[in-house]
Subunit: 124 residues, 2 copies
DNA sequence: ATCTCTGCAAATGTTTTGCATCAGC
DNA sequence: GCTGATGCAAAACATTTGCAGAGAT
């Protein structure tokens, strides 16, 4: 059974507005405005349970700590330059990944990371 | 200028055979068979330069440390279950991602991570 | 009253960095 | 000989966990 605590409500509230994917540290800082005594361990524990319940989704950017965002938000895709390491956001999405997994799986979300050289490094 | 040292040759050799994506620790252990005094810092520094030169590619699995593999090897895609956390390998790959980036970019590789419920957790 | 959740601090694991020394070129 | 590369140890982060006490039900 999951209890409805002040801490969990403070953390949920952070994600109720329009925010970009956040790191656990950023979630902590934002939620501490409501709950100054909040600890980082609770943030990690709460984020994990919100991922398991499907409310949040982990966003993995190459070379960065995991970020979390609302599952319902439109997803992003990334391009990572192997030379300068810069990550850019890719808007277009060509979809239909359904055929990639067996029918017994429930496909909820996909994430695409493209690798190569960005326009800057491609010139040099 | 990049020097051709014993350490770099030992690390390169690890990747010359048919191996799965390796963590830096695994690379260290394998390369130490040739070079017992090799340190982990050198492994990290060498892996980074091999990624920048395009020889190696980083493979990011959700919830695991970064792994490295030869860029020329056929790529993999992953399915990550949000409930049990298990990661499975997806064989099929359907899409063409060329249209997702501007022409000024050089697209060399893509990685797809699918999220949802695996067949086990989907039943429950 | 029970039993989960929390905060703290310590432990764990990964990756980076400072620095003196070593070795390619 | 110059200068980049190495090994070590420490530092910097990210994340998890043990535990005793607080709080939700």
């Amino acid at each position: 059974m999951i209890r409805n605590t002040l801490q969990r409500r403070a953390i949920s509230r952070v994600f109720s507005v329009d925010v970009p994917p956040l790191t656990p540290q950023e979630v902590l800082a934002a939620a501490q405005k409501d709950m100054p005594a909040l600890g980082i361990a609770t943030v990690y524990r709460t984020l994990k349970s919100m991922v398991e319940s499907g409310t949040l989704t982990i966003v993995n950017l190459p070379g960065e700590a995991s970020r979390y965002e609302l599952t319902e938000k439109c997803h992003h895709h990334f391009f990572s330059c192997r030379a300068c390491g810069k990550v850019s956001v890719v808007s277009k999405c060509i979809t239909d990944f359904k055929d990639m997994v067996p029918n017994s799986f429930k496909l909820e979300r996909h994430e695409v990371v493209l690798y190569g050289l960005c326009s800057q490094c491609n010139k040099e």
